[in-house]
Symmetry: C2
Subunit: 361 residues, 2 copies
């Protein structure tokens, strides 16, 4: 019984959040983002790294910058509400950075949930927005359950039984508050691994497990470069495909955002905005129950699950998001562990953009 | 590449929906249910069979009847609203049959979605309610997206990294309308297979694939009887466990229904009501977009996915719920194919309960 696959880094360096975040922010400011928008993007990326979710961390700086420089993202755009109807809303992202659209839409979802108890905000005209958990977790401070999902970064998976990539890995995130325990935060893509992990394997030139992906002939492969040309495998085969297809419809068909044939690959298509679709739900617990009692019940159930005797070679049983929360606590204190290759790429970018590299990096 | 695992039946018989449904209804009436309630239960079970979802079909008649006869379900109970707050609601099932609670709660969710655009109904005091798809699909006729989920029939899975069963397989269903294509209906448990399929294998004394379950020592097993004593394996290992845990919290912690230590096994605990928790969400598309345009977009995306060239040995690519919808169309015309063992059990029950067995069975 193996736990989550962890990254194997070669040479690494720990960097403080307070060092790396302003550095990344400055890169985006230099590339034209307003400071407030650059702050959201940098925080979303560095927070992902702090949580150990390196696939959605500063590794993405390079592609975000490239898309901005090629004019695929409108750095001046402000998202706007185009449908506002009781507990529901459609947000037009106007091709702003995905994080800017995501934060705006989730704030709207939270406002609406305060009034109606639950809300649904559907976004279009967005871009890659980082981790779903980032937006789902925004609900926690309001004593709400948060849900967010996005169409994936491109059609990466074949529909089950098919051979070519027509479905995104379409991740979703759900955050549920607890009292003293870490909040439960589930954030998962419907592929066996996020494509970002395959990207990471190409950066470090590391073979991937054969269960991760198919090559462009539909055969299993351990070569991350061949996997980049093929399709990633859905979790649980037809079930994961089913989730991916369904999440895609919920994210993009309501708001008429890109999906299927109109979905452009974030890494490969620089013809314009991605018109990504995303969804945001907030559920205000105070509308339904006594919030403190709810949070104590969550603590009780979390403790019950954690009390399961661990299997051979396992030290402890974890709740969804617990490893990430523990990692975040640790790395916010001790600094965030980065592979040298990832930092080197940011240094290269900084040199090109004439952004000051922090001392000691 | 294998498609969904299909049942291997030995001797079988086709029976018309119009024959089997009144027969099952009569069994439940004889056991004390009001006719309208017996109708809901019978329709939910026979519809599952018609869709090929035999694990949640009339196979369950025996356990439902046993629970009624042992006084574990209140056949006279009427569900009631205990919290009604804008777009949200908590329903107390009062220990009615799960299907009765489910239908009541989903009707409330649909009513609320008409007003607010989205709704959230949390139920407690419920029982085993059949398939999630049954309730999610109720939204389709209203041009809504329907979502329903339930705490599972018992703690069947170990938390990932643990050894004992502390998590239900906690299925969810999502139904999305289309124009001419079949609606997309995803309905899945978080175990590699529903425990009902293992129950079915014990009925037909058929070995199960080793990926389905662990024995009570956490080892893979092909023996369905040993699997019944052990734990079922979550799909995609820690990801499936993560979904199961999260769905369980959403279903049972808000309404303070049974979960974890308080979750009784539907097959093993006859000490009283199960106090199951379920959730129901309806999203009224008319609040968000032009419904006809939405449905045409769904058709377009479904067609795009279906146009994927099939893999070797596959004839066609299917959307979630499409195989079930096709099967339902076929079996509503030609009769529902049943293994003799399942019909024999209903005949035995009928003899005991002095219910007339339809001619030709």
């Amino acid at each position: 019984m193996a736990n989550k696959s962890h990254y194997q880094f070669n040479e690494t360096k720990r960097v403080a959040y307070s060092t790396i975040k302003p550095w990344i922010r400055q890169i985006f400011c230099t590339n034209g983002l307003k400071e407030a928008d650059a702050e959201i993007v940098a925080d979303s990326l560095v927070t992902a790294d702090a949580r150990g979710v390196y696939s959605h961390g500063i590794l993405r700086t390079s592609i975000y910058r490239k898309r901005i420089q090629k004019g695929c993202v409108d750095v001046n755009a402000v998202p706007q509400v185009i449908v506002d109807n009781a507990a529901t809303m459609v947000v037009e992202g106007n091709n702003a950075m995905g994080q800017v659209v995501g934060q705006y839409a989730m704030e709207k979802a939270i406002e609406k949930a305060k009034v109606y108890g639950i809300s649904f905000v559907s976004a279009r005209g967005s871009n890659h927005y980082g981790t779903c958990a980032y937006y789902a977790q925004m609900a926690l401070a309001e004593q709400m359950i948060g849900i967010s999902a996005t169409i994936g970064g491109g059609n990466l998976m074949a529909p089950w039984g098919g051979t070519d990539a027509r479905v995104g890995n379409n991740p979703f995130g759900i955050a549920i508050p607890a009292e003293n325990a870490f909040p439960v935060v589930l954030d998962m893509a419907q592929s066996v691994v996020a494509k970002g992990k395959i990207v990471m394997a190409t950066k470090t030139n590391t073979p991937i497990p054969k269960e991760w992906a198919f090559d462009n002939n539909g055969r299993e492969t351990t070569d991350p470069f061949k996997a980049m040309q093929g399709t990633v495998r859905p979790i649980a085969d037809y079930k994961g495909y089913g989730i991916a297809a369904t999440v895609g419809f919920l994210c993009s068909v309501i708001s008429d955002a890109a999906i299927g044939l109109s979905l452009k690959d974030v890494y490969e298509d620089f013809s314009g905005g991605l018109n990504k679709g995303q969804m945001f739900i907030a559920i205000d617990l105070a509308h339904l129950t006594d919030v403190s009692a709810f949070k104590r019940r969550m603590d009780r159930e979390i403790a019950y699950i954690k009390a399961s005797p661990p299997a051979k070679d396992m030290e402890e049983v974890y709740l969804p998001g617990e490893l990430e929360a523990r990692k975040q606590e640790q790395q916010m204190k001790e600094g965030i562990l980065y592979p040298i290759e990832v930092l080197d790429e940011i240094k290269e970018i900084s040199t090109k953009d004439k952004v000051k590299i922090p001392a000691g990096i």
